[in-house]
Symmetry: C2
């Protein structure tokens, strides 16, 4: 499989101009591309020097397993989004898993670093991620699970469609049982 079209169109986009031959060569040399079946682990807690992933097709999640064995979803990545542990090369506490059958590009930290020195907009993706996480942090802290669910429905309705309910509850920081309660209550209002 050697079609890097989606990846290259992303780099063209962040460069803001067509890519030169040499750039295309460099970019494609850094990235691998693979197909993964649903529920495949791409990255596990304990690993060091983890990769960064860019999703061409499908849906992935980054999560942690706490002391009690409970999973918490930190973020999802769908088509044309990045996912991975920005704390690499340190040993990661996180897992990355496919939620759907997916097509994914991967790149090692060193190469990623080279690229974001060259394409400052790539570094900007990190900044945007920070802003996104901070917003999510505030929501989880200051709002009820019910409010957070409504926010998710209105801001990312497509995720509600594509995710099983227990993955959503884990993203909202509540138990599947409690989310089910919220939905039951919500359904009555009709």
């Amino acid at each position: 499989m050697e079609n890097y079209e989606v990846l290259l169109s992303y780099f063209k986009h962040i460069k803001g101009a067509p890519l030169e031959e040499a750039e295309i060569k460099e970019i494609t040399s850094y990235f691998g591309k693979r197909i993964y079946k649903k529920k495949t682990l791409l990255m596990s807690a304990g690993e060091a020097n983890t990769k960064h992933y860019y999703v061409e097709k499908g849906l992935l999640r980054l999560y942690i397993i706490d002391q009690n064995g409970k999973e918490f979803n930190i973020l999802f990545a769908r088509e044309r989004q990045w996912i991975g542990d920005l704390g690499t090369p340190a040993e990661t506490p996180y897992f990355v898993e496919t939620v759907e059958n997916s097509v994914v590009y991967s790149i090692a930290e060193d190469d990623f670093h080279v690229l974001y020195k060259r394409y400052i907009s790539l570094a900007n993706y990190i900044r945007k991620s920070y802003v996104f996480l901070q917003k999510r942090f505030v929501s989880i802290l200051s709002k009820t699970a019910e409010e957070n669910y409504e926010e998710l429905v209105s801001e990312h309705p497509e995720l509600i469609q594509r995710l099983p309910q227990y993955q959503i509850s884990s993203y909202l920081g509540v138990t599947p049982v409690f989310l089910s309660k919220i939905l039951a209550k919500r359904a009555k209002k009709d």
Copy 2:
């Protein structure tokens, strides 16, 4: 007040080499430096094009006020740390306030952007901030307030000394009343 020593030593540090005359000129031309009394607001929700702040002396906090008027501290910055809304130039939902009398450098977004294109380690501060916030996010989500308090004590004992208790409770995402309960319980174990 025109002593930029602390700021310049920071840039020397992230450059990894002594600064040239032209660099010093550029950096000092971008930053302002001011003294603020304790409890002074430097940035308020609703403002756009907010500044980034680098603390020479003192302690600042970034917080939000939710729908019910309740404050949540998102992060603190003490000596030689950055604080501000990375979402700028968009209208910010956050506040920045001094907790102690402080000496603070400030820089506008445009200039900040110019600098982190030149000093990639400055962009790295954003990456480190992301990693820090993600860790904090996971802690708040998966641990009890008591556990989070113990974590704060062991990782940032100096903050416990410098902050009033109600600022700590707001950082942990609980009410002052509940933190007081935790401390009472904790004190008994002696």
